[in-house]
């Protein structure tokens, strides 16, 4: 039972990271029907950026993170303007490939700048684990959970209360109607990429403080996003959160209970098996819009 609870809590913490990464992914998909294969590298860049800024400027680490998030915001906007805008109206495969090309460039850039080694963030929270009833939780995990929840809250408020957030929802809902009401669709698309890159950077910082920084490990989270968003529904923001947490818990459970039976690696593959099953049974996911084709 304790093992179960332990797996559950660490699954939820990892799941919150997936939820953040998935949130940015869904944001882009909702606004522009583009799937972003470079999401994982936005994560990595956010985390490595924070590290680099902290090392180069000797700012307090929290400020370095904020600077890195702002940098991601700008980067996302630039990416949209330079790469995605020319692809409007191109076939799906072209749009996917442009994000894959971007991912390759970002990966190469990260490897050129930092190499493939492991790095760590400065320790902000005490290392001694806390005991909550039967559970043993490290403060870093709690901090990660808190940070993720805080950002999810901020984004919920952003979509509900700010003009830009409402405009983004309007564009996602119906581009033409939004345009007719005076919303600048290109601006909103750029904003959705900027925000997606920033959310990804938050997720990257959280993962960096949990597991340390490694370009491959960070970018792989960008692929774990797919099971999360398909489970939650590709165009549903609450779905991204629920799907992310569910996939995080699932992979931890699979790793904990199935690995001893089949000999390792289930943690990596279980989300994708779930992905295939969801696609077969309920392709629009838990909360996605059911698209009905009419001829």
């Amino acid at each position: 039972m304790t093992i179960f609870l332990q797996l559950l809590t660490s699954g939820i913490v990892v799941g919150m990271v997936y939820a953040l990464a998935a949130l940015g992914f869904v944001l882009i998909y909702k606004a522009s029907r583009v799937i972003n294969m470079a999401q994982g590298y936005f994560l990595a860049l956010g985390a490595f950026g924070a590290l680099a800024i902290a090392q180069a400027t000797h700012l307090p680490f929290v400020l370095a993170v904020v600077a890195s998030l702002l940098g991601s915001l700008v980067l996302g906007g630039i990416v949209e303007r330079l790469l995605l805008r020319p692809m409007i109206g191109e076939p799906v495969i072209g749009v996917i490939m442009v994000t894959i090309g971007l991912a390759a460039v970002l990966r190469g850039g990260i490897l050129l700048a930092w190499g493939a080694g492991n790095f760590g963030f400065p320790q902000l929270l005490p290392e001694a684990p806390l005991t909550l009833g039967p559970l043993v939780v490290s403060p870093v995990h709690l901090g990660a959970l808190g940070l993720s929840l805080a950002f999810l809250g901020v984004f919920a408020a952003f979509f509900k209360a700010t003009t830009l957030g409402v405009a983004m929802r309007a564009v996602a809902d119906d581009q033409q109607a939004a345009q007719a009401l005076g919303v600048s669709v290109p601006r909103i698309l750029a904003a959705s990429w900027a925000i997606a890159a920033m959310v990804a950077a938050v997720a990257g910082v959280v993962v960096g403080s949990l597991n340390g920084l490694n370009a491959d490990a960070l970018s792989f989270i960008g692929l774990k996003v797919f099971p999360a968003v398909i489970l939650g529904g590709l165009d549903s923001v609450p779905g991204a959160v629920v799907g992310g947490v569910a996939i995080g818990v699932l992979e931890n459970m699979a790793g904990g209970y199935l690995d001893p039976l089949v000999g390792g690696g289930t943690k990596e593959v279980a989300p994708f098996v779930a992905l295939v099953l969801v696609l077969m049974l309920r392709p629009y996911g838990l909360f996605g819009t059911v698209e009905i084709e009419r001829v």
Binding site: I35, I100, A104
Partner: protein
């Protein structure tokens, strides 16, 4: 002997057979003949082992890219699992050769068939999914197959992989670059011939109809699911043959080769060459195979000036590779095949452009 015709100053076709002919006039026929003679007789005589290696890797990539082109370029089903499908072909060939002791000439087609079966299985989601969703389903196929390569020890021997016995054709033992150059060249010709003729049949037309508008295709009596599965089957067969040849060519099969990166390489070949063209896979495979080789040569040439360059080669390859894809998508989305078509059309009427 029939008189050769070199140019057609109008459209004088009177029968469908003429319209479906592979060559509109004798220029193409002659050019192809010359090209084949040069490729099979002169190139192996003059090229060194390094050039032959690059040519062999390109040839294998052409076969795989042709498979992808059939599925993605002609049938419009995006696949991100072709790297793993190639792995299935390589493993099937390795198992058939090392464990069942089948001869080379039966192991390769059987490996292709095994891959085709796996490909068709992972094509089943295309019953309900299309576009982005199908791409994500094939991405899942990639990871599930990679997991199988690494962890299904009984079949794949996990991380240790297989040593593939040398290929034998009758009395000849195929060793070294040159025999494989002819073998891979012949396979490329065979697969391209199959590809070309497939497109002229009812099946090929059905594929194109599904790509252009699946609902319209269904309404004129094309069984969507059947043809999509068939496209997955044939496409996986081709990439499986590429994998089997790769297994024999390199002599070892280990899991690390057939990753998502390989799938992405194949997609990039499709984009760079031009999806939905027969010659596209040739251009695409050549460009994507030559990029890392060219970078390596460049880094060696510059090693005196920048000694760190060799260490950064992989990272540099990623940057160049990504930049090439993005540049093609933005400036030349129809690929090199389209550029070649434009150049040819220009010189066709040159110098009397109007």
């Amino acid at each position: 002997m029939r008189r050769l015709t070199f140019s057609d100053c109008g459209d004088y076709k009177t029968r469908y057979a003429q319209d479906a002919a592979l060559f509109a006039n004798d220029v193409g026929r002659l050019a192809l003949g010359v090209l084949l003679i040069v490729w099979f007789l002169i190139v192996p005589a003059v090229a060194g082992p390094y050039l032959l290696t690059v040519a062999n890797l390109t040839g294998i990539a052409v076969i795989g890219a042709t498979g992808l082109n059939l599925l993605t370029g002609y049938t419009g089903q995006i696949t991100m699992g072709h790297g793993a499908f190639m792995g299935v072909g390589a493993y099937a060939a390795a198992v058939l050769a090392a464990r069942v002791h089948l001869p080379f000439w039966t192991a390769v087609p059987l490996a292709g068939l095994a891959t085709a079966g796996v490909g068709a299985f992972f094509g089943i989601p295309s019953l309900r999914l299309k576009g982005l969703y199908l791409a994500i389903a094939t991405l899942a196929a990639q990871f599930i197959l990679e997991y199988a390569f690494l962890h299904w020890d009984w079949l794949t021997r996990g991380t240790s992989g297989y040593l593939v016995p040398p290929a034998r054709l009758g009395v000849w033992s195929l060793r070294g670059e040159r025999p494989f150059f002819w073998l891979i060249g012949a396979s490329v010709v065979l697969i391209t011939w199959l590809h070309l003729n497939l497109l002229r049949t009812r099946m090929g037309r059905a594929f194109v109809a599904i790509r252009d508008n699946d609902r319209a295709a269904a309404s004129i009596g094309i069984h969507l699911f059947g043809y999509k599965l068939l496209a997955f089957f044939l496409s996986a067969f081709m990439v499986g043959v590429a994998g089997a040849l790769y297994a024999y060519y390199t002599g070892v099969v280990v899991p690390g080769k057939f990753t998502l990166d390989l799938s992405i390489d194949y997609l990039a070949m499709g984009i760079v060459g031009g999806l939905g063209t027969v010659l596209g896979p040739f251009y695409g495979a050549a460009v994507i195979t030559v990029i890392p080789e060219a970078l390596r040569a460049l880094s060696q040439a510059l090693s005196a000036v920048f000694p760190d360059l060799a260490a950064a080669l992989n990272a540099l390859r990623d940057v160049v590779f990504g930049a090439v894809i993005v540049a093609f998508l933005i400036f030349q989305p129809e690929g090199l095949a389209d550029r070649w078509r434009v150049v040819r059309a220009y010189f066709r009427l040159w110098p009397y452009t109007y």
